[in-house]
C-alpha cells in the first residue's frame, strides 16, 4: 500500500515538474539560457490563474469553467510577459557566457519577485474550487483526488504536443535546426530572432501553465517562485538539458526521490532531490542524455 502511495505521489509530483521543466529545457535548447526567472513565470501563472478564476466566478460562470480560466491565464502570461522579456531584455545579452546569462535571469527573477508583489500584494490567494472538480478516484482502500490524475494527463499531452511539434511539423524542424546551429540556420534563411521569441513564448507558457495548475492545490503567495526553480533545475540537469525524454525521466527520478523521502523519512524531503541529482551526475557528468560536443583545441 505504501509503495502504491509513493508511486502515485511520485508520478503526480513528476507530472507537475515535467510541465515546468519542459519549458526550461526548450528555452535552454533554443536560447542557451538556463532561466532562473522561469520560477517567476511559474508564479505569475499561479497568480494570473487565481485572478482569472475569480473573474470567471464574478461573471457568474459555473466552476466547471475554471480549467478554461486557468488555461487562459497561462496564455495571457505568455503573450504579455514573454515578448517583453525576450525582446526587451534577453536579446541585449544574447551570445554571452552561459553562467553570466544565469545571472541576468537572476536579476530578472529579483525584479519580477517585487513586480508580482506590487500587482497582487503579499496576502495569499485561495482558488480551491477546481481542485474538487474531478471528484475522487478509489484504489482499493485508498482514494485519490481526481485533479491529480488530470494533472498527469495534462503533462503527458504537453510532452506529446511539444514532441510532435518539434519532430513532425515544418516549424518544429526549423526550431531543431536553430538548436543545432543558429549560424547555419540563419544563413539558410531562417528568421532566428523570430524563432527565439516563439520558443521563449512556449517556454513561458509551460511555466505559467504549471503555475496555473498548481494554484488550486496551495495558497498563492510570495515565495512560490523560489521553491520551484531549484527543483526544476535539478530535473533538467539530470536530463542533460537537451531533450524532452531527458526532462521526463529527470522529473520522474526527482518525483520518486521526493515521494520516497516524504513517506519514509520526511525530514529528508528537501535534500532528497539534490541527493538524487548529485547521484546521477556522479555517474553521468553531463546528465542522462548528454549532447556530444567537439573539443576545442
Amino acid at each position: 500500500m505504501l509503495l502504491l502511495t509513493i508511486f502515485v505521489d511520485g508520478v503526480v509530483y513528476a507530472s507537475w515538474l515535467f510541465i515546468v521543466a519542459l519549458g526550461l529545457t526548450l528555452v535552454f535548447g533554443v536560447l542557451k539560457i538556463l532561466n532562473i526567472a522561469h520560477g517567476s513565470f511559474y508564479a505569475l501563472g499561479a497568480y494570473a490563474a487565481a485572478s482569472f478564476v475569480g473573474w470567471f466566478a464574478s461573471l457568474g460562470l459555473a466552476p466547471a469553467w475554471s480549467p478554461v480560466a486557468m488555461l487562459l491565464a497561462a496564455v495571457a502570461v505568455a503573450a504579455v510577459v514573454a515578448p517583453l522579456t525576450e525582446r526587451g531584455l534577453l536579446r541585449a545579452f544574447h551570445g554571452r557566457d552561459e553562467v553570466l546569462l544565469v545571472l541576468v535571469t537572476y536579476a530578472l527573477f529579483l525584479i519580477l519577485e517585487d513586480v508580482t508583489k506590487l500587482i497582487w500584494g503579499a496576502t495569499p490567494y485561495y482558488v480551491t474550487e477546481p481542485y474538487m472538480l474531478f471528484g475522487t478516484v478509489e484504489f482499493g482502500v485508498m482514494s485519490y483526488v481526481g485533479y491529480d490524475f488530470v494533472l498527469i494527463l495534462v503533462a503527458v499531452v504537453c510532452g506529446l504536443l511539444v514532441w510532435w511539434g518539434l519532430n513532425r511539423t515544418r516549424s518544429g524542424k526549423i526550431v531543431l535546426a536553430v538548436i543545432h546551429s543558429e549560424e547555419i540556420a540563419s544563413s539558410m534563411g531562417v528568421n532566428v530572432s523570430r524563432i527565439y521569441t516563439f520558443a521563449f513564448m512556449v517556454g513561458v507558457f509551460l511555466a505559467a501553465l504549471g503555475g496555473a495548475l498548481t494554484a488550486p492545490m496551495l495558497s498563492v503567495q510570495p515565495g512560490l517562485s523560489v521553491g520551484v526553480i531549484i527543483v526544476s533545475f535539478a530535473v533538467v540537469i539530470i536530463g542533460g538539458l537537451v531533450s524532452i525524454e531527458g526532462a521526463a525521466i529527470g522529473a520522474l527520478i526527482v518525483g520518486f526521490a521526493r515521494a520516497l523521502a516524504v513517506h519514509t523519512w520526511p525530514d529528508a524531503e528537501l535534500f532528497s532531490i539534490y541527493v538524487a541529482m548529485a547521484a546521477v551526475l556522479v555517474f553521468r557528468p553531463q546528465g542522462l542524455f548528454q549532447r556530444m560536443q567537439a573539443r576545442k583545441i
Binding site: L34, L89, A92, F93, R96, E98, V99, L100, V102, L103, V104, Y106, A107, L108, F109, L110, I111, E113, D114, V115, K117, L118, V226, I230, F233, A234, I237, L241, D267, A268, E269, L270, F271, Y274, V275, M277, A278, L281, V282, P285, Q286, G287, R295, K296, I297
Partner: protein
C-alpha cells in the same frame, strides 16, 4: 642584490601594496560613523566569500554554492564559541575557514571534473543539501538559527562602544592579508596556469599541467575564504541561521564576483561595498521594492561593464602596457 629574482621583487611589491592599503583602511576606520563601520565590515566579510568565487572564475568555473562554505564557516565558529568555550575572535575566524576547507576537500576532486553550468548547479545542489540539513536540525535551532555572544580578542573583552571598530579592524586585517595572499597566489605559476585553463583547457593539459588538480586546489582555497567570511559575518551579526546556505545567498556572492570581474582582487571589495550600499539604501528608501532595485542595478552593471568593475583600471593598465 644580484640573486633577487623578478618574482621575489613582485611578491614584495604586492605585499607592500597590500600592507599600505590595509593601514589606510584602518586609519579610515577611525573617521567612520558606526553605521558605516558595520556596513564596511559586512562588505569585507561578504567580499572575501566572493573573492573565493573570483579565484574559481580565474580557472573558468563559477560556483553557485559558495553559500555552503559560508554557512559551514559560520556554524563551525558559532558552535565552537557556544560549546567549546572558544571566544577568541582570531581563532574562531581562522577555525571557520579551516572547517569549510575540510568540508569542501572531499568534494573538490569530484567537482573538478565538471565545467560551466554543471559545475554551477552541482555546487548549488551541495549548498542546498546543507541548507536542508540545517533547517531540519533542532539542535542547531532549525530555521531560526541561534545567537552567539561577543568574542574576545587576545584574551581581552571587547567593550560595547568599541565593538564596531574592533570587528571592522579585525575584518580589515584578516581579509587584507588573505586578499594579498590571493593576489600573490594569482601571480604564481599555479595561479597563471588557472588563467590559462580559463582560456583553453586542452592546451594546458597538453603542456603537462593538471587541470583537475588546479581546479580542486582553487576550490578548497575558495572554501577557506568562504569559511572566513562566514565566521566574520557571524561575529559581526552575533546570529546565524540556515539562510547563510540558501541559494539566494550564493547568488549574491556570484553577483559580487561578476560585478568585480576576475582581473582584480581589489575590485571584489569595491563591488561588495557597492552592493552593500545599494542594498542598505534601497532597504531604507524602497522597503517593498529593494529586490527590484538590486535586479536593475545588476542588469545595468552586466550590460555596461561586461568585464566587471576591475576592468575599469586593469584595462587601462593593459592599454598603457600595449603602447609602451
Amino acid at each position: 642584490m644580484a640573486d633577487r629574482s623578478p618574482r621575489a621583487a613582485s611578491v614584495t611589491a604586492t605585499a607592500l601594496a597590500g600592507l599600505g592599503l590595509l593601514l589606510a583602511l584602518l586609519a579610515l576606520g577611525f573617521a567612520m560613523p558606526g553605521w558605516l563601520l558595520l556596513l564596511s565590515t559586512m562588505a569585507i566579510s561578504h567580499g572575501v566569500v566572493s573573492l573565493g568565487i573570483v579565484l574559481l572564475m580565474r580557472s573558468g568555473v563559477v560556483s553557485f554554492g559558495q553559500g555552503m562554505v559560508f554557512a559551514a564557516g559560520g556554524y563551525a565558529a558559532a558552535l565552537a564559541a557556544n560549546h567549546l568555550g572558544i571566544s577568541d575572535a582570531l581563532v574562531l575566524i581562522l577555525g571557520g575557514g579551516l572547517a569549510s576547507a575540510l568540508l569542501a576537500a572531499p568534494f573538490a576532486p569530484l567537482l573538478a571534473r565538471y565545467r560551466g553550468i554543471f559545475f554551477a548547479m552541482l555546487t548549488l545542489a551541495l549548498s542546498m543539501v546543507l541548507y536542508g540539513i540545517l533547517v531540519k536540525s533542532a539542535a542547531l535551532g532549525g530555521s531560526d538559527g541561534f545567537n552567539v555572544g561577543r568574542p574576545t580578542i587576545f584574551g581581552a573583552e571587547i567593550a560595547a562602544e568599541n565593538a564596531n571598530f574592533t570587528l571592522y579592524a579585525l575584518a580589515v586585517v584578516i581579509v587584507g592579508v588573505l586578499a594579498t595572499l590571493s593576489r600573490i597566489y594569482g601571480d604564481s605559476v599555479r595561479g597563471l596556469v588557472s588563467m590559462a585553463i580559463r582560456e583553453n583547457e586542452l592546451r594546458v593539459e597538453y603542456l603537462g599541467a593538471s587541470v583537475t588538480s588546479a581546479i580542486a586546489v582553487n576550490f578548497v582555497f575558495a572554501a577557506f575564504l568562504g569559511g572566513v567570511g562566514g565566521a566574520l559575518t557571524l561575529l559581526a551579526l552575533g546570529h546565524i541561521d540556515p539562510a547563510f546556505s540558501y541559494w539566494t545567498a550564493s547568488g549574491e556572492f556570484v553577483f559580487v564576483a561578476i560585478l568585480a570581474g576576475h582581473h582584480s582582487m581589489l575590485a571584489v571589495f569595491v563591488a561588495s561595498f557597492a552592493v552593500e550600499v545599494v542594498r542598505s539604501f534601497s532597504n531604507l528608501y524602497f522597503p517593498n521594492t529593494w529586490q527590484l532595485a538590486m535586479g536593475v542595478f545588476l542588469l545595468v552593471v552586466i550590460r555596461f561593464l561586461p568585464r566587471g568593475l576591475g576592468s575599469l583600471w586593469t584595462d587601462r593598465r593593459t592599454r598603457a602596457g600595449a603602447r609602451a
